[in-house]
């Protein structure tokens, strides 16, 4: 499975289909085992990312890392945040998730 690179400067890739833990994924020509299940349309790290790194997608910053991520790891609410306005979830609004 080859995730989508939207822009050459990006440090995250977008999944064109869901992946399962252990499934082989191709990143920049290298093959590695997916560390976890990730759904279609979600992002994974193109290479190792550190706390404070700007996350680049479409060649543009879409937020910053709040926790490290290994190459191939899911990049989402648990390890990155907006540099503008906080995102909300059903848990945060008291709605059932």
């Amino acid at each position: 499975m080859k995730p989508i690179l939207l822009h050459p400067d990006d440090n995250v890739l977008v999944l064109a289909a869901a992946i399962q833990a252990g499934q082989t994924i191709e990143i920049d020509g290298a093959m590695l085992a997916a560390p976890q299940d990730v759904a279609v349309g979600h992002k994974i790290a193109r290479h190792a990312l550190s706390i404070g790194d700007k996350v680049l997608k479409y060649g543009a910053p879409i937020g910053s890392m709040t926790a490290p991520a290994a190459a191939g790891a899911h990049v989402h609410m648990h390890n990155m945040k907006s540099d503008y306005i906080a995102s909300h979830t059903r848990q945060a609004t008291g709605e059932p998730s």
Binding site: I4, L6, V14, L15, A16, A17, A39, V40, G41, H42, K43, V55, K57, Y58, A60, P61, I62, G63, V75, H76, M77, M80, K81, S82, D83, Y84, I85, A86, S87, H88, T89, R90, T93, E95, S97
Partner: protein
């Protein structure tokens, strides 16, 4: 190829539908108006309205713009009688546009049953007049096309949104006015968007509109970012923005509109949907249809709606073409979608091919073909309280001084 026909209105505008609108002017008149529409059971008789009892200049402006919309051939206003909505100003604006308009006041018409009876007769009269609108040749350059995204996910910004951008580029090049919106979903894109303005002053106004949206949403405590967006793989407002922004294509931006303003030329416009002044009436747009109504108030003959998670809505007054970004969603909801843009993710099509398909579908729908949501009977409409200042002098550089 671009030879369309339109319904010619007395004010010279041309519609792609011939709708009679039944409008309630306060929630207290909603049931009567809905009952009239339900009894008539005609796909071209639509229910619209405003629920509030307190007056609101924005709501009046939007209702006036929709009453004189090119797709509208006649309007029946249903008033309770004691509400604050300025029904005479609305009636006068519709009449001034040359469209037939009738008013029924429930408190003066014998109550619910009698107003329904009179309303059914009134719609028949209005429809008879609307049906006399001549069909005349119409060019693509006379179209106004809106776009919106709803239920966005990680696929929206890769497939459906940039495909709509391709279609917008073609429509704009053919002279159509194309309108994109939701400045709250452009937070993070303000600089690159400003670089596309046709004047430096317009560029500054574009940036200011996004700053206003950011400030407004910050007070509200939420960005324009719903839990479903996160479940679909989007993490931040600016990530959602970059995807949403790609609906605008690559053409220069020729102006900024506010709800109810009309484009003054072909080309690409930003619709500024975030209220001016202090935060007063809550979230700028409480749901997607509130934005669609504002696009229609700016003259949109039809709206391109991209969705990843899978919205099913349509709209009163102007058809909605639904472009599905996510191939898994398409498989679940294909009966609600007009275009399968998610096939791009599966290698079954390119952005250019889907963009061309959307362009062709715009012409077909403008030519009278029913969209999926129209055929399913979707005629959503919602209008709530807002406050706007008029657009500034830099917003319409192409406006002719008369």
């Amino acid at each position: 190829m671009s030879a369309l026909t339109g319904f010619l209105r007395a004010d010279g505008r041309k519609g792609v539908r011939n709708v009679v609108a039944v409008a309630y002017l306060v929630e207290c008149a909603h049931h009567v108006a809905r009952t009239i529409v339900t009894k008539i059971d005609d796909p071209d008789v639509h229910l619209i309205g405003f629920p509030g009892c307190y007056p609101n200049a924005y709501a009046l402006k939007v209702m006036q713009a929709i009453g004189a919309h090119p797709n509208v051939g006649g309007v029946l206003l249903i008033s309770l009688g004691c509400e604050s909505f300025n029904r005479e100003a609305l009636r006068a604006a519709i009449a001034a546009s040359g469209r037939p308009v009738e008013v029924l006041v429930i408190q003066e018409s014998g109550g619910t049953a009698e107003t329904v009876r009179k309303g059914v007769e009134a719609v028949a009269r209005l429809k008879a007049i609307a049906d006399q609108a001549p069909l005349v040749p119409m060019d693509v350059s006379e179209l106004v096309i809106g776009t919106i995204c709803g239920g966005s996910d990680g696929t929206s910004g890769i497939t459906a949104n940039p495909a709509v951008g391709r279609a917008f580029d073609r429509l704009g090049a053919a002279g159509a006015a194309c309108v994109f919106e939701e400045t709250g979903e452009l937070v993070g894109c303000e600089k690159i968007m400003a670089d596309r303005a046709i004047t430096p002053e317009l560029g500054l106004a574009l940036e200011a509109s996004v700053r206003k949206a950011e400030a407004y949403y910050t007070v509200m405590g939420y960005g324009s970012f719903a839990p479903g967006n996160a479940e679909g793989g989007l993490t931040t407002q600016e990530e959602k923005s970059m995807g949403a922004y790609s609906k605008s294509g690559s053409a220069p931006i020729v102006g900024i509109l506010k709800p109810g303003d009309q484009p003054v030329s072909g080309g690409l416009y930003l619709l500024d949907v975030v209220p001016d002044g202090e935060v007063r009436f809550g979230f700028p747009n409480i749901s997607d249809n509130a934005e669609i109504v504002e696009l229609i108030a700016c003259g949109a003959h039809l709206t391109l709606f991209t969705t990843g998670r899978g919205s099913v809505v349509g709209s009163a007054i102007s058809p909605v073409i639904k472009v599905c970004a996510n191939p898994e969603t398409y498989r679940k909801l294909s009966g609600d979608m007009d275009v399968d843009a998610g096939r791009i993710m599966e290698g079954r099509g390119t952005l250019d091919e889907v963009g061309d398909e959307i362009f062709d579908l715009v012409l077909a729908v403008a030519g009278g073909a029913r969209t999926v949501s129209e055929a399913l009977g979707h005629q959503e409409f919602i209008l709530t309280y807002k406050a706007f200042d008029p657009i500034g002098p830099a917003c319409l550089p192409l406006r002719r001084v008369s």
